[in-house]
């Protein structure tokens, strides 16, 4: 069969070009595609529009792209852990669109699922609704939200095979599953490549149809933002 596997992020970095819209999976620092993030940070790519729930922390994760001024615009739900970002935003060095977390996830899924737009109650009567169509269904107010797609989606899974099938672990799944669907080109990095046939077909989170390239990442740091232990509390 045709393998989608490549050796490393270096083989794929040429797909990321100036001005592109890039999705990056993860919630906080959990489940982020560290290898591709580092490869982009090491490149000279600029003017990226980044769609991600968060934007990393100062100098880790997507924070690296910020430090290098590679980002033109961000769509995210929460950027609280990134001080550099706040400064850049106040100085007008980066554009920002805050998207409610559930609306963000659903807009991404819609992009992958061929749904151009849908209605949600989230954000009605708030600044999120500004400029959006409002409509009443069964007596309740909703706003129209549009699908999101990316030129390239960068996702991180636990295990994967050459066909691009992915399995996630725990809460590291988060935005990675929907983003895999929404990339015009989807690049998956995994902690472990496994042989075809070793993943249970009933328990594949992202079927390979959504993934164009896959590689086994290396040197995962998997940094913990808020280590909280039972005996501390």
């Amino acid at each position: 069969m045709m393998s989608k596997q490549v050796n490393s992020a270096d083989d794929l970095i040429h797909f990321i070009r100036n001005g592109m819209t890039i999705m990056a999976g993860g919630f906080g620092l959990c489940g982020i595609p560290e290898n591709m993030i580092n490869a982009v940070a090491a490149s000279n790519v600029i003017d990226l529009t980044v769609i991600s729930n968060n934007i990393g922390i100062d100098n880790f994760g997507l924070g690296k792209w910020l430090s290098k001024r590679q980002i033109k615009k961000i769509l995210a739900s929460y950027v609280g852990e990134n001080k550099e970002f706040e400064n850049m935003l106040l100085k007008g060095e980066v554009e920002m669109e805050f998207v409610p977390q559930g609306t963000l996830a659903e807009r991404i899924r819609a992009g992958g699922a061929g749904i151009p737009a849908f209605y949600v109650a989230t954000g009605v009567g708030t600044e999120v609704a500004e400029g959006k169509e409002e409509r009443v269904f069964d007596g309740q107010r909703y706003i129209l939200e549009k699908a999101l797609r990316a030129d390239v989606a960068l996702v991180k899974a636990w295990k994967g095979d050459e066909a691009g099938n992915l399995v996630f672990k725990d809460t590291a799944q988060n935005f990675n599953a929907a983003m895999a669907m929404a990339g015009k080109l989807t690049i998956a990095e995994v902690e472990e490549m496994v042989p075809i046939g070793s993943l249970d077909p009933n328990h594949i989170h992202v079927p390979g149809i959504f993934v164009q390239y896959i590689f086994e990442g290396s040197n995962y740091e998997k940094r913990i933002e808020r280590l909280t232990l039972a005996n501390q509390v």
């Binding site: 919630f27 906080g28 620092l29 959990c30 489940g31 729930n53 995210a76 739900s77 929460y78 950027v79 609280g80 852990e81 706040e86 935003l89 920002m96 805050f98 409610p100 977390q101 559930g102 609306t103 963000l104 996830a105 659903e106 991404i108 899924r109 949600v120 109650a121 989230t122 954000g123 009605v124 009567g125 708030t126 600044e127 999120v128 636990w158 996630f168 672990k169 725990d170 809460t171 590291a172 799944q173 988060n174 935005f175 990675n176 599953a177 929907a178 989170h205 998997k222 940094r223 913990i224 933002e225 808020r226 280590l227 909280t228 232990l229 039972a230 005996n231 501390q232 509390v233």
Partner: protein, 218 residues
Amino acid sequence: MALTKEQIAQRIALEIKDGYYINLGIGIPTLVANYVPDNIHVTLHSENGLLGMGPFPTAENVDADLINAGKQTVTILPDGAFFDSAMSFAMIRGGHIDLTVLGAFEVSESGDIASWKIPGKMIKGMGGAMDLVAAADNIIVAMQHTNRAGESKLLKKCTLPLTGANCIKKIVTDLALLEVGEKGFILKERAPGVSVEEIQNATEGTLIVQGEIPEMKL
């Protein structure tokens, strides 16, 4: 005596029924989990993709792949499940969460809530808060009655950008338990030893006091 944060959480815990699926926000709401009676089983939802959130891990059990929406390391209980963000918010928006408890900067007498943005000061983003307040039938706001400057957080109209409009129906503060009615905040319970007058003085929005207002039982 005004309630402590723990007591606010304790009062809210009394609203919980057996079998509830609950989403608890950061801060006081998180404390609510500590006061759920032993004979009541609740399932905690964390919007990053987790049902059945368990206690914080021991040092040996810490896993970077297992965090809650507050980005803290957590554990999962035996009856729990993991899922992706789209599914997680399908649960929220679809009305499958029985109770949502979250904090706020301000609540208005028409049930508006402001909790995510202070223009010029705080621009972190709304995270999942807008989804939560827009979806739930059963939301309790847990907050102090007044801010650090002593100004009321229960207002005629919110001054800060809204998280949601006309969505809050119940509020537990350090001074009182209130419901949002057609015409304003309806005072339902007083913190032990706190007078109606004190509550009135700390409430900028319309306060409706009908009959005797009982003290909270904790």
